[in-house]
Amino acid sequence: MITSIQELQKVAENRKCSEENIPQELRVCIGSSCLSQGSDAIQKDLEEAVKAKGLQNRCRVKGVGCNGLCANGTLVSHCDSSKKEQTLYEKVTASDIKELVKCVEDHSVYKEKRCDTNQPFFTKQNKVVLQNAGVIDPNEIEDYIAHGGYSALFHVLKEMSCTDVIDEVKSSGLRGRGGGGFPTGLKWESVYKVQSDQKYIVCNGDEGDPGAFMDRALMEADPHKIIEGMAIAGYACGANMGYIYVRAEYPLAVEKLDHAIKQAKRLGLLGNKIAHSGFDFDIEIRLGGGAFVCGEATALITSIEGNRGNPRQKPPHLSDYGLWGEPTILNNVETLANVPTIIKKGAQWFKSVGTTASSGTKIFALTGHIKNTGLVEVPMGITLRELIYEIGGGVSDGRELKAIQTGGPSGGCIPVEYLDLPIDYDSLKSIGTIMGSGGMIVIDDSSNMVEIAHFFMDFCKSESCGKCTPCRVGTTQLTLLLEKFINKEASKADLELLKQMSEIVKSASLCGLGQTAPNPVLSTVRYFENEYLEGIKDD
């Protein structure tokens, strides 16, 4: 049991000491992307090979979370404290194990598979939330503590009042990373101010956007950061219970979180009277069945309660009437993972990163027609051009960029003329799209935008819960209308109907799913109308 900050530091020291005894580390990415290429087998083989050479006292082999450059997996990094440097290897296969062990033996570098970490993909990033990803072993709480973990929670419990924490988060300017961009501090304050014996913290890990894997990677790479963020939120608003809602399609994330919660409980970092303070906080995991609508706040809450995950009309907002009717804070995984750093480094530091209205960093999952597919964390305000051409390495297969889809199925498509637009919540909104949770799909000139809009509308159609008429029937009607354009059988009246129906589905639907489902249609009609006109048959 860890009951004081001194004891926490001792755990960190012990871990560091043991690390010093073993000067080298081979960190194998065992995030879902690399795992799908068999990185777990590589880790095992490396362990055996290191042992066979009798190097186990000189080198530790450990599995770590996502390194970022998923396109070039499996990624293995070699840390050599004697040389004070880290070498990253890409596209590692079983045949490279011998060479990697040789590097450990000779303190050398295996040039053939060396990944250039001086490329903009690495240098242009600013890892705040993903600081520990690819560095710590998510299975070991001591590793997290050695990297400064849980010190923010102890600092909060010992030095700060609830309002101090809320003020700090408020002045940091942190906004909800789930996509809405609502100020987190204000959300916390509204729950803090409600008088109630029971309050809840809910972490939304139900990431369902096509092409998005930010939250999954974060839960797999650094589960303790989310737990720490939730505990701080609980302390700030007076909640003693938290739930992490994760879709069951993320088994690895569930496994890591489950393991992390057990470890935290074992060390007294969750449970009753944390750090001998009067603060009790516990966390449970709830598995979601994989319905996209369950990412919507009220549907998520209903699903946790054990009902069909249908949304309900807001207000009442969750701060008044949330889980089981009690005041509830619902934050996204990335939002909560920002909190420990804000406490540690201070609101002013956080504000210095990003833009005035959108402070901090944002994690994006770069996918689609792009060279460097992967997970990147960049300061808010970076331009799309920097993100696509420098970090992302440009469009793949030498084609031209046509558009960028942001914000998942409910976002919009941005044409190339906005490449120099700084990315933040408000700028994206001003051109008819949204930040969303951070999925970013790059579309090249071989794509038809009507087909792209149809793909997303079809997704929303299948994921609509069926409760309200505009979303249930509207998304189906819009999908069929788009098919008419694709088959070049549409009429001029169909284009008018498409626009009118999109507006009505947007303004009349009950929850966020329906309200945002027509965004891909509206944005593509706005910027690529000629492609719709091509779908109109000549009479």
Binding site: R312, C468, R472, S507, A508
Partner: protein
């Protein structure tokens, strides 16, 4: 939660000053003042779900249209129940409902006693604005007294709510998602095999369309008896 005291609120609906209790909805207060707002999924006495979206109104200062049935009243608020924009929304929503399944009035058992039909007359909608989807569902006529025809269903869930909240049986519920959503009995069994159905008929009385109807009576007699539910609630309250 700390119980809030019920207070009187004064506000405006269509420029008419009205008063209501703070726990009332816009729709309740409007009805008390004889201001008409069309509804389909709403039924007095049952919980409000705001799902049909027929009762959308404008609340000044709010960006989006709000359903009157779930919007609580506030001091000084200004509600607009009808405008060209609202009218367009209602027509489109009604068209969507008509297009979704088969609502051919001339061959429907409740022709003349149907709330969906009434709304069309009220709104003056002469034809659907969107193409028909022509979905087909199997009719369940297994029950000895009642028939369930999903082709006439508008998914207002009044039957689900009355069975759960008034009868206490929860024999009905929803299955599937989106356009494929259906009302089912128990675990999607034929109505006759439902163990939890008490055959009370409340679901049939509250169904606004011909999706649920009684067997062996003439079409003229197939009147919906929504008042029964309200009387039941009132008499239960008296017993308390």
């Amino acid at each position: 939660m700390i119980k809030q005291k019920v207070r009187v609120k004064t506000f405006k609906i269509d420029d008419i000053t009205v008063t209501g209790q703070s726990d009332q909805t816009v729709l309740e207060v409007a009805r008390e003042h004889n201001i008409y707002i069309p509804t389909l999924c709403y039924l007095e006495g049952l919980s409000c779900v705001g799902s049909c979206r027929m009762c959308l109104v404008e609340i000044k200062g709010c960006r989006e249209l709000a359903p009157a049935c779930t919007s609580k009243i506030k001091e000084g608020m200004e509600v607009v129940t009808t405008s060209p924009d609202i009218q367009a929304h209602r027509n489109m929503i009604l068209s969507m409902l008509f297009s979704e399944r088969t609502h051919t009035c001339s061959v429907c058992v409740v022709n003349g006693n149907c709330e969906l039909q009434d709304k069309t007359v009220e709104l003056g909608l002469e034809h659907s604005l969107v193409p028909y989807l022509e979905q087909r569902f199997e009719i369940d006529a297994s029950h000895k007294n009642f028939v369930h025809d999903p082709n006439r269903c508008i998914l207002c869930t009044r039957c689900v709510r009355v069975c759960d909240e008034i009868e206490g049986a929860h024999a009905l519920d929803l299955v599937d998602r989106g356009i494929n959503t259906r009302i089912i009995h128990d675990m999607d069994e034929p109505w006759a095999d439902s163990q939890s159905c008490t055959s009370c008929g409340k679901c049939v009385y509250v169904c606004p369309t011909g999706a649920l109807y009684e067997k062996d009576i003439s079409t003229e007699e197939k009147l919906k008896k929504t008042d029964i539910i309200l009387n039941l609630i009132k008499s239960r309250k008296k017993d308390d």
